[in-house]
Amino acid sequence: MNFSEVFKQTNQLCKVSPDGKYLATCVQYRLVVRDVSTLQILQLYTCLDQVSHMEWSSDSLFILCAMYNRGLVQVWSLEQPDWHCKIDEGSIGLVSSRWSPDGRHILNTTEFHLRVTVWSLCTKAVSYIKYPKACQKGIDFSRDGRYMALAERRDCKDYVCVFVCDDWHLLRHFETETQDLAGLEWSPNGCVLAVWDSCLEYKVLLYSLDGRLLSTYSAYEWSLGVKSVSWSPSSQFLAIGSYDEKVRILNHITWKKITQFEHPAIIDNTKATVYKEAEKRPGVGSDEMPLHNITMGATLFNTQSKYEICPLPVQIPVVKPDPDRASPKIGISVLAFSSDSRYLATKNDNMATAVWVWDMQKMSLEAVLEQTSAVRCFQWDPLRPRLALCAGNTKLYLWSPGGCVSVQVPTEGGFQVQSLNWHCSGDSLILLGKEQLCLCYMDTDQEDKFKGTRCRLLECSFFLSGLKHSQQTQHSS
């Protein structure tokens, strides 16, 4: 595993183009575009103010930079550096800006959710969509980019508008059976729209593309309900995480619950492996790792950590949420399916240090990663069943069915990984710190190709394949 040198960034604005060739980062009011393979700067654009949002168009030709506090959007072209476009929302304000899937339209949501403005870069035409609802996830584009679903609020009732993105034709407009719609999401095949109610009521509604209600699911009443929803990439499962610390899996045929995954504080499921991150200070046990001491010179003052397999049962630290506070820190807030829909990773908010990985074939718990600090972010490899996570410290953690590894990011100045993104090829990871970023290259066969440009800083001490075995043997001895 190799790491690149560290680059500056602000607001964690750093994105790889959809085709995987370019890396765009924002530093204050500047937009820097680099080649991903060489990390050389290709273009440098200067915006009018500090950028608060940045996004690639789907064809990787344009970059949108939004400056919310000025109500401005600037678009840059990669092919024609002198081409420019500036959209001013004026005094009405701007809270959100995004590309339409065709990369020729920009959707701006104004302040107070007064309207959504659709700007066309082809015709300079502008159209408005009124009454957008201010909620968790009010707009979603289907994966093929053909349709857009928009949550709407009129006369104290929730509606869903389905637009054809091609010409912004309103295809369907229907009322939903929700008290207070909180979000909507297309299934990956674009034929089913999942709509869920706010946390006051556990209600998930499934609508067909033509607006028919396919099914309604409600697990319980009265207590706080849905916290997160996620489709599996195969559209086969709909995972619903809720405030009762459970994940419920619905199937795509009957839309009934197949199973539910509980997150108990004491894990005694013998089929699951519990990896516990164990920290140790270097230098204390120098006898035990004489070989790695030399390579670890750069990280002498950082604590090292490794995973240990815990014998069951294991007690996961639980933080009891304050019942008087709104939106309590309890329940499943993050759900992520692996790209092959085989695994599901979840995080329960009152067990902030643990990530749970579930096997969707066996419908059982596969592994639990117990970190020493609260997990900030995790993301699946876009191609392989491999989960990368970070916990706001100087380490990067990877899980795969074969085992678990903790890698020290070998940079000076305490690079603390706050967030991470996979490159679309799954070969590299973009690690985002507070004001820095760094690329992490996974070990692949084409490593030699990049040797000249990358500084090889650390030979990872544990390898994925061998780790599980060695840990087990350690345990038995």
Binding site: G90, I92, D166, N189, G190, C191
Partner: protein
């Protein structure tokens, strides 16, 4: 007599009825008393008070006769010798007296018996009274207990009542709270709606204002317009376009449904295949057992018939499987179901058979021990009985002894006996102790002797070794007889050697290490003079006499080990040093243990 009487009167209170029939009538008793006291009065009392005087002899005689007649002694009639005479005819008088005496004796006997009876009765009475009082006590106790239980029951009921009332109030509370929640929720939602309406109004107003103001800033500034991503021109919004959108949507929906249907069909086909397979296998499993059970019961034959029908049906269903015929599917599932049922029955039967067999086995196993067990029990019971009898007899004897001859003297004697016995025992123990002491002494002596002998042997051995070594040195040719030496070494020589040392004993490390070894291990540095060095020789040099048997076993395999471990010693200089230290330590320890 008088005493008895008083007791009797005191007893009269308790049991008048029983006494009344035991005792004689008062008149009769009086008679007896008078008769009894008669002879005495004759001599001591005055004549006046006497029964018979010279004057009233005939009256007396007649009275006595009457009395006798009343007593049923009519045959003997006392009569005067002659009517005027005072003398009595002796024979009848004596006879009468004799009779009377007889009667008296008999009555005395009776009396005694009755007295005894009385005693017994009284004791039983006492016993009965005791038991009566005891029972009464028990009754009282149980009554008290009952009342206590009643009390607790009452309390519990009270508690239940209070709890029920509590529950009721709680339920009411819950209901109240629920209604409160509901009312609040409705209020909240109402308020929320109101606020939302207001907000919407405000938004409308705001947007209106913004539009009215003709916000100049609201603009798009593009250098030159872009082409569409797909390169096409923009369509007009026409009805045709909308219908085409609809078409497209339905098309995509349709394709999705088709895909899902295809996958379902595939799954279905797969499942059907599995079902068929299962059915076939079931039939396969079920058919061989048919001959065995055929005709056993009517049920089985029925099953057989079913199965035959089934086979045909199965074939038919298989044929029509591809046609997705409703009928065929039903038939298939039905047949599977039936066969499954059959299989289950069969398995259950097998299970029950197995359990029966097991039960039988268990019962068989149990029967045999039970007999022996009973025999044993009988035997033991007999034994217990015997023991009991024995104990009883002993107790009786003891009781007798105690009853007959328990006094101070015997007690003293007994005491003496005990002390004597104690003394005897102590003496015995003393003797044992002495014997043990003697044994220890002897052992110690043996030990010292052995030590001395060992010392001597050691000395002899060292001399022997010295001579042997000398011989060895004198006619040694290096490396030619290596194998032989090593083997002989392994068999005869005694050496102290721990594992790490074996590692050290390589050819390479020898020269460097020899000095340290000699100082610590062997008392003769002259022996370690630089001679043609082989590992065997080196080891021989480091021989010391003391050795334990466990080390012998180690020695058995070192010649092979040393060659293998040579490489290791090269790699780990640190280890070598450490192990050297260990060897020194172990040597010192052994010396200590020897002396």
């Amino acid at each position: 007599m008088g005493e008895w009487w008083t007791t009797e009167t005191s007893m009269e209170n308790y049991e008048i009825s029983s006494i009344s029939h035991v005792t004689m009538s008062p008149s009769r008793r009086n008679n007896l008393v008078s008769m009894y006291s008669f002879p005495l009065s004759k001599s001591s009392y005055s004549v006046i008070s006497a029964f018979c005087t010279e004057d009233n002899i005939p009256q007396c005689i007649s009275y006595i006769n009457q009395e006798l007649a009343s007593l049923g002694l009519s045959s003997t009639c006392i009569e005067a010798i002659s009517p005027g005479d005072t003398g009595l005819s002796t024979v009848p008088a004596l006879n009468a007296m004799y009779e009377l005496l007889q009667i008296h004796r008999r009555s005395m006997c009776n009396l005694e018996e009755l007295e005894r009876e009385q005693l017994r009765k009284s004791s039983t009475l006492e016993h009965i009274q005791m038991s009566n009082t005891r029972l009464k006590d028990q009754l009282e106790l149980s009554i008290r207990e009952k009342s206590g239980l009643h009390e607790t029951e009452r309390q519990l009921q009270l508690k239940i009542k209070t709890l029920q009332s509590c529950l009721k109030t709680e339920k009411d509370e819950v209901q109240k709270l629920q209604s409160v929640i509901a009312s609040r929720a409705s209020q909240y939602s109402h308020d929320a709606k109101r606020k939302e309406r207001e907000a919407v109004k405000l938004k409308e107003r705001l947007s209106q204002l913004l539009i009215d103001r003709k916000d100049k800033k609201l603009a798009i500034d593009v250098l030159n317009c872009l082409g569409r991503a797909d390169g096409k021109r923009r369509h007009w919004k026409t009805t045709k376009a909308t219908s085409s959108h609809e078409d497209e949507m339905y098309k995509s929906l349709l394709s999705d449904y088709e895909a899902s249907q295809r996958s379902l069909m595939l799954e279905n086909a797969e499942l059907k295949k599995v079902l068929q397979q299962m059915k076939k296998e079931m039939m396969h499993i079920l058919s061989p057992r048919q001959p065995s059970t055929r005709g056993a019961t009517a049920d089985d034959s029925q099953e057989q018939a079913d199965l035959d029908g089934e086979a045909k049906g199965g074939d038919a269903s298989r044929e029509s499987l591809d046609q997705y015929c409703e009928h065929a599917r039903e038939q298939l599932t039905n047949s599977i179901r039936q066969q499954w049922r059959k299989l289950r029955n069969h398995v259950e039967r097998l299970d029950s058979q197995a359990s029966q067999a097991q039960n039988q086995l268990e019962s068989n196993k149990e029967v045999i021990p039970r007999e022996t067990h009973e025999d044993e029990m009988e035997r033991m019971r007999c034994e217990v009985q015997q023991c009991r009898e024995f104990i009883h007899a002993q107790q009786q004897l003891l009781q007798q002894q105690l009853n007959t001859s328990f006094d101070d003297e015997t007690a003293a004697l007994l005491n003496d006996c005990y002390t004597l016995e104690e003394k005897e025992r102590l003496k015995e123990e003393w003797r044992l102790f002495e014997e043990q002491k003697r044994n220890f002494e002897r052992e110690r002596k043996n030990f010292t002797e052995a030590a001395i002998r060992l010392g001597r042997e050691k000395k002899a051995f060292e001399e022997d070794r010295a001579s042997w070594l000398k011989n060895q040195f004198l006619n040694m040719t290096p490396f030619t007889h290596r194998r032989r030496y090593s083997s002989s070494d392994g068999q005869s020589a005694l050496s102290i050697r721990s594992e790490p040392e074996i590692r050290m004993s390589s050819v390479k490390s020898q020269l460097a290490k020899s000095s340290t070894y000699t100082t610590f291990s062997t008392p003769r540095p002259s022996q370690s003079a630089p001679v043609p060095s082989t590992t065997e020789l080196y080891r021989t040099l480091r021989l010391i006499p003391d050795s334990s048997s466990s080390r012998h076993s180690n020695r058995g395999r070192w010649p092979e080990c040393s060659n293998i471990e040579d490489g290791e010693t090269l790699v780990r200089p640190k280890n070598r040093l450490r192990s050297g230290g260990m060897s020194i330590f172990s040597l010192g320890e052994d010396e200590n243990s020897f002396t």
